[in-house]
Assembly symmetry: C2
Homo-oligomer: 163 residues x 2
């Protein structure tokens, strides 16, 4: 099949306490309690109806401070290189991130969220409701991550490697 | 913050048994055992290294047969309208889908997968490894879906409403 180009128009902006990449949490589980908010552009606000009844939402967003990509990277939680698609590294062919965060409440076009692990002023692409019955997976194998699943210490914080 | 446009270049193509939208499974859980494969364009194949050690992968892809969007939709699993962002409907401002599928094996740039719930020849945008310790969420509330969580019958199959 032919290659395609798809044009994305952002639907809002995510505001968080993280002004720079270094020291950021690298996953929502490392950002427990970290609050932020999302401003949805007013023309999309009607699309938020009934979303406040969900406890968790999955955000798709642009890694807006990342330039270019590498096909092999050393992820934050390992000392060895892996293919980019076996990692969550932001330096990927299409710089789109996904994070499931807690939804606290919604006021008009503003969503208040917790467990935010993205940079301040991150452009938002989409919001999906998290469906507990569809989205959890059990009996999973997680490759290189399985041998590095001690979540203590600083391994869950970003350094400068992807700048 | 200003609106942004982001240009996505697809990285491969997903092949499944579903040649038309009507009758497709609407979630991977409704597609148990349905096999498919992904062809990654050769220039990205190096990025697949070590991915075969993961049992599940999350695909980001383009809803390529959907035109335009609605801010209010009646999702497949309910009889009432909800805001588009409270649903997984494909008719959304940015027509990007996410599905977590089983990874069976990889041969060069071909990934063999199961639980495929997307249309044949779907353009692939990204692959993320599924991290059991990061990606599951418990004690979730799923709004309108919670009252419709009887998964039997045809409610998990698509009709023509989004054509």
């Amino acid at each position: 099949m032919a290659r395609r180009k798809i044009i994305i128009e952002t639907i809002g902006t995510i505001y968080t306490p993280f002004k720079k990449i270094k020291g950021m949490p690298i996953q929502p589980v490392a950002a427990e309690g970290v609050k932020g908010h999302i401003e949805i552009f007013p023309e999309y606000a009607k699309g938020l109806e009934d979303l406040e009844e969900f406890s968790h939402i999955t955000l798709l967003y642009h890694f807006h401070e990342i330039n270019g990509y590498n096909l092999k990277v050393k992820p934050f939680m390992d000392d060895e290189e892996h293919g980019i698609f076996a990692t969550r590294s932001p330096k990927r062919p299409n710089a789109i991130g996904i994070s499931t965060v807690e939804l606290l409440n919604i006021e008009n076009n503003i969503l208040y969220i917790a467990s935010t692990d993205m940079l301040n002023e991150t452009p938002l692409i989409d919001i999906k409701p998290f469906f507990g019955i569809f989205d959890n997976r059990f009996d999973t194998r997680s490759g290189w991550l399985d041998k590095n699943s001690d979540l203590s210490g600083n391994k869950l914080l970003s350094d400068n490697r992807f700048l």
